[in-house]
C-alpha cells in the first residue's frame, strides 16, 4: 500500500500563454473599423476587370511575395505537361507559427482550362488577405490562427491558352495529355484553329439547299429547323478548322484530352479517367501536396458555370420530405430558405450525418452571400469527391457565374436573350459576325456566328470583381469556422505527497496480492491535473470521414515538465465523473467537435524539486495547437 503524508502545497503564479495569441505587431498597424475607409487595398493595386496569362500571374505572385514576405510564400508544386510551374501560395502570418501548425483552407481554380474565373476568385482571396492584414481585425485574426493554401490554376497550360490564344468557349478544357480522339493510332493530329485570323475560333456554315439550319429571327443567329420544317438553306460544319492530316475529316482529333476533373481516385472508373487516377502532373501534384499538408480541413474548389454550391459529402440517397416543406420554420420562407429546402430530401448515412449538418450550416451562409443553389455533389473521379471521401476535408465545389439575361424569367437564357444582353453590355465586343471564307476542304463558307469566349463560359471582365468578392466573403467565413482550440482551464488538485515514490509490481501469492517495490524514486507529489480543452469554432478537429479514413493520427494532450510524469488519465463526463482510467502517458482523442469542451483529468507524479513549470500542450493534425503553462512550487 502507498503511505500518504499530506503536506502543504503552494500553487502560485498561475499564468497562461496562448500560442495562438494574435501577433503583437498588428497592434502597431493602423486598424480600420469603418466600412467606409480603406483597408489597405492601395498597397497592392490590381486591375480586377480583366484576365491574366500564366506569365502575368507568375509576375503578380512574385511581386506579392516581395511586398508581403512575412505573410506569403510561393511554392511550385510541380510542372505541368508543357513545363509551366504549378504555383501554390501559402498564406498565413508566419510569425505566429509555421503554416503546417494551423488549421488550413485550400482554394483552387481552373481544373478545367476554360473555367478561368476560378483563377480570379483564388487570386482575389490571396490579394484580399495580404492587403487587409493589419488593416482589418477579422482578416488579421484569421491570418494569425489559420493557413490558406491557394492554387489559383490547376490546369495551367490550358488556362494560359484560353486567356491568350484564339479558342472556342469549350476548349481547351482538358490538359495536354495526347489522346487519339478518333482511334486511328495518331495523337492530336487535327486540332481546331483560327483559320481567318480574327482572334476567335467560331463556327463554319455553308449554303446548302438541303441544309437543316435556317436564319433566325435575329438574322445573325442560325437556328436548327424543326423536325417537320422544310430545309432552311444552311448547313453547319462545326468549329473553325482545317483537315490537318488529310483524312477528309475536320477537327476530329483535337489537342489534349484528359479531363482533370475525372482523374482523382474517388469513385473513379476507367471510363471516366483513362488510364489511371492521378496520372497527370496537374492532379497528382495537388493530391501529393494535400497529403503532405494534412492540416487542410476545408476545400473550396472553383468551377463554372451554373451558380451552384455543390456539397461533396459522399454517397447519399434522396427521400422526399413528407411534411410540408416550410412547416417548421414558423415564418414566411425567404429565398434562402427555399434554396436550402432542396437539401432536406438528402439522406446521408448516420455515420456521416454530423458532417452533413456542418456542411449545410456552411452552405447556408454561401447561399446568403452568393444566391447560388446548394446541391449535393462529388461525382466520378472528381476532385471534390476525393477531397471529402479520400482526404476527409469539408469540400465545396462552386459552379460560378450564369449569364444574367433571363429577361422573360422563364428560367432559360435563350440565344435571343443572350444576344440582346451582349449588344447592351458589350456594344459590339460580344459577337463574332459571319464573314465569307474560302475553305480548302469545304469550299465557299462563312465563319462566325458565335459569342466571343469571354462573354459565354468565362465571366466578362467587368463582372469579375463582384463575383470574386462574394466568393471571398464566403471562403473567409469557412476559414473562420475551422477549428480553434484553446486550453480553457488547467487546475491541480493534490492527492498526496510522498517521501519516497516507487515503481513496482503486484505479485500474486495464492489469494493475496502483494505490492513489491522495484525502484525507488524519491520525494514527490501525486496529484490530479484537470484540463479543459475547448473548440471555439463550428468545424471539428477531424471530420467523421477523416476519422473513418485513418489518415490522421489522434489528437493528443500532453503534460510535460522537467520533474513531472503522467501516469494515466480519465475523461470527465458532463457531470464531471471520471470515466475509464487509461494507463497512457498522453491523452488521446478521436476528435474535438465544434464548440465542444473536453474535460480531462490526468494522474500525475511530480518529483519534489521546486519551482517547476508544467506545460499542457494540445496537438491536432487538423485542429492546430494550443498550450498553457503553470508554475508549481512544492513546499
Amino acid at each position: 500500500m502507498l503511505k500518504t503524508h499530506t503536506k502543504r502545497i503552494l500553487i502560485t503564479g498561475l499564468f497562461t500563454v496562448f500560442i495562438l495569441l494574435p501577433f503583437s505587431s498588428l497592434l502597431e498597424a493602423e486598424q480600420q473599423s469603418s466600412p467606409g475607409k480603406s483597408h489597405g487595398e492601395d498597397a497592392f493595386p490590381i486591375n480586377w476587370k480583366r484576365y491574366y496569362s500564366h506569365d502575368e500571374l507568375t509576375d503578380l505572385y512574385r511581386r506579392m511575395v516581395k511586398k508581403f514576405p512575412d505573410l506569403v510564400k510561393l511554392v511550385s508544386t510541380g510542372k505541368s505537361r508543357q513545363g509551366r510551374d504549378l504555383w501554390l501560395l501559402e498564406i498565413t502570418n508566419f510569425k505566429t507559427g509555421p503554416a503546417e501548425s494551423k488549421p488550413a483552407l485550400y482554394i483552387d481554380g481552373a481544373i478545367h482550362g476554360n473555367e478561368v474565373q476560378g483563377i480570379m476568385c483564388a487570386l482575389y482571396s490571396t490579394w484580399y488577405l495580404l492587403t487587409h492584414y493589419g488593416n482589418d481585425r477579422f482578416v488579421t485574426d484569421l491570418m494569425d490562427t489559420r493557413t490558406f493554401y491557394i492554387k489559383p490554376t490547376v490546369n495551367v497550360d490550358a488556362a494560359h491558352s484560353f486567356v491568350t490564344e484564339p479558342n472556342t468557349m469549350h476548349h481547351p478544357r482538358w490538359n495536354y495529355r495526347p489522346v487519339d480522339n478518333d482511334g486511328d493510332g495518331k495523337f492530336d493530329e487535327d486540332p481546331e484553329e483560327d483559320i481567318n485570323g480574327d482572334g476567335e475560333i467560331s463556327l463554319m456554315r455553308r449554303r446548302n439547299p438541303n441544309g437543316r439550319w435556317k436564319v433566325g429571327e435575329d438574322p445573325r443567329l442560325l437556328v436548327r429547323c424543326e423536325q417537320d420544317e422544310p430545309p432552311g438553306g444552311w448547313e453547319l460544319l462545326g468549329y473553325e478548322g482545317l483537315d490537318n492530316d488529310g483524312d477528309g475529316l475536320v477537327n476530329e482529333d483535337i489537342l489534349g484530352g484528359m479531363d482533370l476533373a475525372r482523374n482523382f481516385p474517388a469513385r473513379w472508373s476507367i471510363s471516366a479517367g483513362y488510364p489511371y487516377p492521378l496520372s497527370e502532373p496537374e492532379t497528382r501534384s495537388t493530391a501529393d501536396y494535400l497529403l503532405e499538408h494534412r492540416n487542410v480541413g476545408a476545400i473550396v474548389h472553383h468551377h463554372n458555370m451554373g451558380q451552384l454550391i455543390m456539397i461533396a459529402a459522399g454517397p447519399y440517397q434522396r427521400r422526399e420530405a413528407e411534411r410540408s416543406p416550410f412547416s417548421r420554420i414558423g415564418r414566411y420562407p425567404t429565398e434562402v430558405d427555399k434554396k436550402m429546402e432542396r437539401l432536406r430530401s438528402v439522406q446521408v448515412p448516420s455515420e456521416r450525418r454530423a458532417d452533413w449538418q456542418k456542411y449545410v450550416t456552411l452552405a447556408r451562409r454561401g447561399v446568403e452571400i452568393t444566391n447560388y443553389t446548394p446541391v449535393p455533389g462529388g461525382g466520378m473521379g472528381q476532385f471534390s469527391a476525393w477531397g471529402y471521401e479520400h482526404f476527409g476535408a469539408f469540400t465545396f465545389l462552386v459552379e460560378l457565374w450564369n449569364i444574367p439575361a433571363d429577361f422573360n424569367e422563364d428560367g432559360i437564357v435563350d440565344q435571343g436573350e443572350m444576344l440582346r444582353w451582349v449588344d447592351r453590355e458589350f456594344r459590339g465586343e460580344g459577337w463574332v459576325e459571319w464573314k465569307p471564307f474560302k475553305h480548302p476542304t469545304y469550299g465557299d463558307i462563312e465563319i462566325g456566328g458565335t459569342f466571343t469566349k469571354f462573354v459565354r463560359r468565362a465571366t466578362p471582365g467587368k463582372y469579375l470583381e463582384q463575383l470574386a468578392m462574394k466568393m471571398n466573403d464566403w471562403s473567409l467565413y469557412i476559414a473562420y469556422n475551422l477549428p480553434l482550440i484553446k486550453i480553457s482551464s488547467l487546475k491541480i488538485s493534490p492527492l498526496a505527497t510522498v517521501s519516497k515514490a516507487f515503481t513496482g509490481k503486484v505479485d500474486r501469492q495464492e489469494q493475496d496480492f502483494v505490492v513489491k517495490t522495484e525502484k525507488s524514486l524519491g520525494k514527490g507529489l501525486l496529484a490530479w491535473v484537470d484540463i479543459d480543452i475547448t473548440n471555439e469554432r463550428l468545424l471539428p478537429t477531424k471530420s467523421l470521414m477523416a476519422h473513418t479514413l485513418k489518415l490522421l493520427p489522434k489528437d493528443t494532450l500532453t503534460l510535460s515538465g522537467k520533474h513531472c510524469e503522467v501516469l494515466g488519465y480519465s475523461e470527465l463526463d458532463k457531470n464531471l465523473r471520471p470515466q475509464k482510467f487509461q494507463k497512457k502517458k498522453k491523452a488521446e482523442f478521436d476528435w474535438i467537435d465544434g464548440y465542444e469542451t473536453k474535460r480531462i483529468r490526468l494522474l500525475v507524479r511530480v518529483k519534489q524539486s521546486s519551482p517547476l513549470i508544467l506545460i499542457a500542450e494540445f496537438k491536432s493534425a487538423r485542429g492546430g495547437k494550443a498550450t498553457k503553462q503553470v508554475s508549481l512550487i512544492l513546499d
Binding site: W174, W268, L278, L551, P553
Partner: protein, 611 residues
C-alpha cells in the same frame, strides 16, 4: 529435359574483360537466393553476352532509389520488340516472396541459352517479346535475402501502423544475436493462447477449444523489444505499402483495404510497372510471381468471375490448362465465393488491373508448397485412408507435416530450437522457431525444381497470345487508261464542257486494293473486356489496317487507316478481317504499303509495287 542449370555469364569478349581487369564470370546456380547486387550483375551480363536478344532497362526507381530492372528478350533482327505480342513477367512484388525472382532469372537464362538450339524457343523469340522484371520491390527483396529481417511483405515507404504519429518506430530485432529473427514464447497459464504439442514440444499450436483445452503459452510472432515504450512489442515495423493493393482496379482507401497506399499508384514501384505497361501496349499476357501455395491465381480478386465475359474466360481456361501441364498444379480464383469470409480477396491488385484496365490476360502463380511426399492429405489419398474429418486434427497434422519435412529433408536445419532468454520487459522467455526459406519460399535445395517447372509454364503462356499478320493483299483493276491528261470543266448554261490539260502520265489505273489481316495466334486479338470498355474522349480499342500511298498513288475512297475491331483466334470463324480501298495509280509504276497494327497482336507490313 536435360540442361545444366548454369547461367554462364562470362563468354563476352574475354579480351575486354582482361583489359577491364574485372571478371564478370559468375556461375549463377539455382541453389541459393540472389541479392539485388547479384541480380543486377546477372542481368547486365546477360545483356552483354546476348546483345541481339537481350536489352536491359530500368522501369523506374524504388522508394529507396534502386533501379527496378526489366530485361527485354526477343530476336530484334526480326521486327522491333514493340511490334510483337509480348509477355510481361515479374517477381518479388511482395518483398518476402523472393522465389519469383529466381523463376524470372531462370526463365531469362533458359530463353537466351536455347535460342537457336531449341526450335520452340527460337520460334517464340522470333515472333514474341518477353519483358521480365525479376525484382519489382527491390528494397524489400534485397533486405529479405541479405538480412535476418522477416516482415518485408510491403515496400520500404515508412508507415505508421499503429496510428500514433510515428513511423517504423518499433521493429522486430534479433535479441539473442543468433542471426535469426524468430518467435518468443513465455509460459503464462492465465493469458496464454497457445500450447506446445505433447509429443513434440517444439511445436506451438492453438489449443483444442472443443476439448476444453486451454492455452499455456503466450506467443509473440516476432522477436523484439518495446522500442517506443508504449507497452506493445513490434507493433510498427519496417514499411510500408502493400504494392499489390496499390493498383487502380477496384482500389479502396485504408479503411476498406489496409495498406493500399494513400491513392492508387502512390508507390514508385507500382507506378513504374503501370507506366511501363502503358508504354508497351503490346503486352498481351502477364505473370506476376508470388508465394506460396502451389497454384495459379487468375482474375478476379475483387469481383466474381461472372464479371469476365465468357470469351475471355475461355482464354483463361487455356492458360490454366497449359499451367497444369507444365507444373501439375491447379488454378484458383482469389475472389471467395463461399467459405468463412466470402467476398473480395482484396482491392487494387495487379492482376485485376492488368486484365480489367490494360487488357492483358493475367495471372499470379503462388509458388512452392509442401511437397506431396509430406502432404498428409495427398498421402492418405494414395493409401486410400480417410483423412481426419475435424478441422483441428487436420490443422495439427499439417503443422506436424512441416516439421517432418524439415527434420527429414533439412536434417532439422530449418528450425531454431527454443532457448532461454532474459527479456527486458517480459522477463524469462524462450526464443526460437522457424527460419526463413522454409514455408513461404522453398529451401534452396528445392529451388531448382520449382523454377524449372514454372519456366515451362511461362513459355506455354507466352505462346497463348494473339499474332496478327497480313494474310493476303488482293488488287483488282476497276478501270485503266493510256495517255492520261488532266481535265477541267467549264459550265456553259446547263452544258458542261471538258477540256484537256497537261499530260499526267502514259497510263492511269483505278484499282481496288483489299487487304486481309489474319490472327495466327491461339487467342483473340483484343480481350472482350477491353473491346466493350468505354474509354473517355476516344473510341474503344481496335486493330487497324492501314494503306499508305508511297509512290504515284492517291486514295480515292476509304480512310487511309481503317478500324477493323478485334480478330478472333486462329481457326475460328472470324480469324481474319479485311479492308479495301479504291486507289488511283498515275504512271507506270506505283507503290503502296499495307500495315496491320494490332495493339496486342503485333505489327506487320507489306510493301506492294504496282505496275
Amino acid at each position: 529435359m536435360k540442361h545444366n542449370n548454369r547461367l554462364i555469364l562470362l563468354a563476352v569478349s574475354s579480351l575486354c574483360l582482361v583489359v577491364a581487369g574485372v571478371s564478370l564470370a559468375q556461375d549463377i546456380t539455382f541453389d541459393k537466393y540472389h541479392s539485388y547486387k547479384e541480380i543486377t550483375a546477372c542481368l547486365k551480363a546477360v545483356q552483354a553476352e546476348y546483345p541481339h536478344l537481350a536489352r536491359l532497362s530500368s522501369m523506374g526507381k524504388s522508394h529507396l532509389g534502386k533501379d527496378i530492372w526489366v530485361i527485354e528478350i526477343t530476336n530484334r533482327k526480326i521486327k522491333k520488340p514493340e511490334h510483337k505480342p509480348a509477355m510481361y513477367i515479374d517477381g518479388g512484388t511482395h518483398g518476402n516472396e523472393v522465389t519469383g525472382s529466381e523463376v524470372c532469372l531462370h526463365t531469362i537464362d533458359y530463353l537466351v541459352r536455347n535460342y537457336g538450339k531449341d526450335e520452340r524457343i527460337t520460334k517464340l523469340l522470333d515472333t514474341r517479346t518477353f519483358y521480365i522484371a525479376p525484382s519489382v520491390n527491390p528494397d524489400s527483396n534485397n533486405l529479405f535475402v541479405t538480412t535476418p529481417i522477416r516482415s518485408l511483405r510491403n515496400n520500404q515507404r515508412p508507415f505508421d501502423e499503429d496510428n500514433d504519429g510515428l513511423v517504423d518506430e518499433d521493429p522486430a530485432e534479433d535479441l539473442n544475436g543468433d542471426g535469426f529473427i524468430t518467435m518468443m514464447r513465455k509460459k503464462d497459464p492465465e493469458e496464454g493462447t497457445m500450447v506446445a504439442l505433447a509429443d513434440d514440444p517444439r511445436i506451438m499450436v492453438r489449443p483444442n477449444k472443443e476439448n476444453g483445452e486451454k492455452g499455456v503459452y503466450k506467443v509473440w510472432r516476432s522477436e523484439g523489444i518495446d522500442n517506443d515504450g508504449d507497452e506493445k512489442i513490434n507493433e510498427d515495423g519496417r514499411g510500408g505499402v502493400n504494392v499489390n493493393r496499390n493498383y487502380p482496379a477496384y482500389w479502396q482507401p485504408e479503411h476498406k483495404q489496409r495498406r493500399g497506399g494513400v491513392y492508387p499508384l502512390s508507390e514508385s514501384e507500382s507506378r513504374a510497372i503501370v507506366d511501363f505497361c502503358l508504354a508497351h501496349p503490346n503486352i498481351a499476357t502477364v505473370q506476376s510471381y508470388h508465394t506460396s501455395g502451389g497454384f495459379l491465381y487468375q482474375p478476379l480478386a475483387a469481383e466474381k468471375v461472372q464479371a469476365i465475359p465468357k470469351e475471355d474466360q475461355a482464354v483463361f481456361k487455356k492458360i490454366s490448362e497449359a499451367y497444369k501441364k507444365a507444373t501439375g498444379n491447379i488454378t484458383r480464383r482469389p475472389y471467395r465465393e463461399r467459405g468463412p469470409r466470402p467476398g473480395p480477396y482484396g482491392f487494387g491488385i495487379f492482376i485485376d488491373w492488368a486484365y480489367m484496365h490494360f487488357g492483358a490476360y493475367s495471372g499470379t502463380t503462388e509458388l512452392w508448397k509442401l511437397p506431396d511426399k509430406y502432404d498428409p492429405e495427398k498421402q492418405k489419398k494414395k493409401k486410400d485412408e480417410k483423412a481426419p474429418s475435424d478441422a483441428y486434427s487436420k490443422y495439427i497434422e499439417r503443422t506436424k507435416a512441416w516439421y517432418k519435412f524439415i527434420d527429414q529433408e533439412l536434417k532439422g536445419e530449418g528450425f531454431v530450437p527454443w532457448r532461454q532468454f532474459d527479456h527486458p520487459t517480459l522477463g524469462k522467455i524462450e526464443i526460437g522457431g522457424w527460419k526463413k526459406f522454409i514455408r513461404s519460399n522453398p529451401p534452396p535445395k528445392f529451388l531448382k525444381e520449382t523454377v524449372e517447372k514454372n519456366t515451362m509454364a511461362d513459355i506455354a503462356q507466352a505462346e497463348l497470345t494473339p499474332l496478327v499478320v497480313i494474310d493476303k493483299v488482293k488488287v483488282s483493276l476497276i478501270q485503266g487508261g493510256d495517255g492520261a491528261k488532266s481535265a477541267s470543266l467549264k459550265k456553259e448554261g446547263e452544258t458542261y464542257k471538258v477540256s484537256k490539260g497537261e499530260k499526267l502520265a502514259n497510263r492511269v489505273a483505278i484499282l481496288e486494293v483489299t487487304a486481309t489481316a489474319r490472327n495466327e495466334g491461339p487467342v483473340q486479338s483484343i480481350t472482350k473486356k477491353l473491346q466493350t470498355t468505354r474509354l473517355p474522349q476516344r473510341p474503344n480499342v481496335s486493330d487497324l489496317l492501314i494503306l499508305e500511298p508511297a509512290k504515284n498513288v492517291t486514295i480515292l475512297a476509304e480512310n487511309s487507316r481503317v478500324r477493323i475491331g478485334s480478330i478472333l483466334a486462329k481457326n475460328e470463324t472470324g480469324d481474319a478481317k479485311s479492308a479495301s480501298w479504291l486507289i488511283q495509280l498515275t504512271g507506270k509504276e506505283g507503290q503502296i504499303k499495307i500495315i496491320s497494327l494490332s495493339q496486342k497482336g503485333g505489327y506487320d507490313e507489306k510493301i506492294i509495287t504496282l505496275k
